[in-house]
Symmetry: C2
Subunit: 330 residues, 2 copies
C-alpha cells in the first residue's frame, strides 16, 4: 500500500486520523439484512432468529498470508470476507454478518482502505447476498493486519461437524481442488524479480493464468452449497483450507473412520496437497442424491486415516504459517 503521490501525505491514515478514515470507509461497506444495530455504538446487534449463532474468526497478516506486490487492497478485502464466509458455510449455515478489524501502517493511503472495503462489499454481495459488515475496529500497526469474524444462521438445522462421517458414506467436494495452490506456485515461480515479489511480473502471470491466480487472490468458494449440503443430509463437512489430504484426515480422525479417495476422481498431487481452495468437503449417506455443485471423490470406510485407491496415504503436505513464512520476503 505505497502512496503513489510521493510527498503528498494529506490522505494517509496517519494524517486524516481514525475517525475521518472510518467516515470514508463506512459508506462503501455492505449492510447486513440481519443487522439490528450497526456501527457507531459500543457494540452492534445482529439478529439470531434460530437462537444460536455460528461464529468463526480468521486473521490475514502481511508476510505469512499475503504480499502487497501480488494482492491489491481490493483483493485483500475480497479474500478476507470469502475465507470467513466459507467457514460459516462449512457448518451448513447461511452467513449473515461480519465484523472487520484492520491495523494498517500510518502511511497507508485512505484510498487503499476504501478499496479494501470495496473488496469486502463485492465479495459479500457475490458470495453471500444479504450478508454485510456490522462493525469493526481500525488501528495502526507497522504490519498490515486484517481480522474478520463472521456470523451465520443455522435456520433451525443442526450444524454439520467433522465428526459425523459413517462407513459407507460418499465423499464429495464442491469447488476447485488445487487451483489456489497452483496460483500460489505460479506467483512464487513467475511473479518475482530477483527473488522479491513483483507487481509487474505478477500481472503478466495473471494474464496468462487468470483462473489460477484468481483462485489464489480472490477465491470464490461455493458458499450457498453449505446450506444445500445440510438440506441434503450431509453427515460431515469442512472448508478445505489446508489441502484435501490434511483436511480429509481431520474428518477421518474426528469421525473415527477412514476416508478412501479415488485418485482418478481427485486428479493428482496438487489436487491432494494444495491448500486454500476453500471448497467444501462433505460426506453424504449413499442413498442421497448429491446436491448440485458436489461431485463424488471417494468413500468412507471402516478403518482410520486417509487412503487413496484403498491404500494408506501418509504424506504430510499442507501449510503451517510458522513453517512456511519467510520473514525477509515482503
Amino acid at each position: 500500500m505505497k502512496n503513489d503521490r510521493e510527498g503528498d501525505h494529506h490522505d494517509t491514515l496517519g494524517a486524516v486520523g481514525e475517525l475521518d478514515a472510518l467516515k470514508r470507509i463506512f459508506p462503501r461497506l455492505p449492510s447486513a439484512a440481519a443487522e439490528l444495530i450497526g456501527p457507531g455504538d459500543d457494540a452492534a446487534v445482529l439478529a439470531a432468529p434460530d437462537k444460536r449463532m455460528v461464529i468463526t474468526t480468521d486473521m490475514m497478516i502481511h508476510g505469512p498470508d499475503f504480499r502487497l506486490a501480488w494482492s491489491s487492497p481490493y483483493d485483500l478485502g475480497w479474500k478476507a470476507a470469502a475465507t470467513n464466509l466459507s467457514d460459516v458455510a462449512a457448518m451448513g449455515a447461511v452467513p449473515t454478518g461480519l465484523v472487520v478489524a484492520i491495523a494498517a501502517p500510518n502511511d497507508t493511503p485512505v484510498s487503499s482502505l476504501e478499496a479494501l472495503a470495496d473488496g469486502l462489499r463485492e465479495s459479500c454481495e457475490a458470495l453471500a447476498p444479504g450478508s454485510g459488515v456490522i462493525g469493526g475496529d481500525l488501528s495502526v500497526s507497522t504490519v498490515l493486519t486484517i481480522v474478520v469474524t463472521a456470523f451465520g444462521d443455522l435456520e433451525g438445522r443442526e450444524p454439520i461437524l467433522r465428526s459425523g462421517a459413517k462407513a459407507g458414506d460418499v465423499i464429495a467436494v464442491s469447488g476447485t481442488l488445487g487451483l489456489a495452490a497452483e496460483g500460489l506456485r505460479l506467483l512464487f515461480d513467475e511473479g518475482v524479480v530477483d527473488g522479491e515479489p513483483d507487481a509487474t511480473a505478477a500481472a503478466v502471470v495473471a494474464a496468462r493464468h487468470p483462473d489460477a491466480i484468481a483462485a489464489q487472490l480472490r477465491p470464490a468458494p461455493p458458499i450457498a452449497d453449505g446450506k444445500a449440503a445440510s438440506l441434503a443430509g450431509a453427515t460431515a463437512m469442512l472448508d478445505l483450507s489446508d489441502g484435501l489430504a490434511i483436511d480429509a484426515r481431520r474428518i477421518a480422525t474426528a469421525s473415527g473412520v477412514g476416508l478412501d479417495l479415488s485418485s482418478e476422481a481427485v486428479g493428482g498431487r496438487v489436487q491432494l496437497d494444495g491448500g486454500e481452495d476453500h471448497s467444501l468437503l462433505a460426506t453424504f449417506p449413499e442413498s442421497v442424491t448429491l446436491p448440485a455443485g458436489f461431485r463424488a471423490i471417494g468413500r468412507v470406510v471402516v478403518g482410520k486415516g486417509l487412503l487413496v485407491d484403498g491404500l494408506a496415504y501418509n504424506e504430510r503436505g499442507g501449510w503451517d504459517p510458522y513453517a512456511g513464512w519467510d520473514g525477509a520476503a515482503g
Copy 2:
C-alpha cells in the same frame, strides 16, 4: 515476550508450530456456559436465547496500545477481555462469549501465550462469570497483535444506545474516572529509563501506586452494572474509553441534548480528560433510584454538547491512536 533462556528455542511458537501451541493454550481458556460447539471445527456455535446477539471487536497492538516492558502477557490477556466485555455491558447486555485472534512473533515463548490465556480466563471469571472463549485464531507477525470479539445476551431487554438521553435525566457513572490515565502518566513519567519503557522502573512505580497502575494494565470495569443500569431504566449508556469529556459529548450528539456535568462531582481535569477507564456512563430518568455502583455527576439539559457547571466546555482532550503513537518507543 523475550525468551528468558537465551539459545533455547525449543518452546517458541516458531519451533513448536501453531497446532502444538494451541494444544497448550486451549486447556487454560475459560469455557462459556452458552457454548454449544466450541473450538476445533470450522466455526463455533453460541447460544442466542434472545434471538439477538450483541457483538463488539477491539484490537490491541504492540506500540500504540501497549508496551511489553510495562504489560506482562497475563496483563494483556486480562485487558483484552476486560475492554471488550465492557463494550458488551455498555449495551445493557450480559457477556456470554469471546473469540480471540492472536498474531505473535516467531520467537515468542509458548509460555507467554499460556500466561496470556491465563489472563483471559481470570478476567472472564472475575468480571463476567459464565463467559468464556469459544474460538480463535493463532498466527505469526512481527508485531504482537491481539483481537478480541465479544458477544452478549440482551435477555429480552432493549439495547441501551447513546441516543436515548432526555433533558432532565440524571447523568451517572459507575467505576473510576481518570485512574487509568493517571496510571499511564505515571508509567510515562517514572516507568522509563533513557526515554525507553523499562520493566524494573515500572515495577517500582507499580509498588508505589498499585491502584492507578492496575487500572491502566488490568482494568476491572463494572460489567454487571451494565445489566443493572438497563433494568433500572437507563435511557443512554456507553463505555468510557476515550475519556469522560469526549464520551459524554458522544451521548449529547447522538441524543440531541446537552450534558451538564458538575465539576465538584467529577473531580478535575484528569477525571474529565483521562481515557481507558472503561467505566459506564449512563443517563437515567430523574424518578429512578440509581442502581448500586452508580453515582450522579450531572444533568441532561436542553441544548447541545458538553457543559461543566452550566458553561460550555470545548476542550478537546482524548486519544487518537495515530496521533498518540510514537513508533520508535517499544
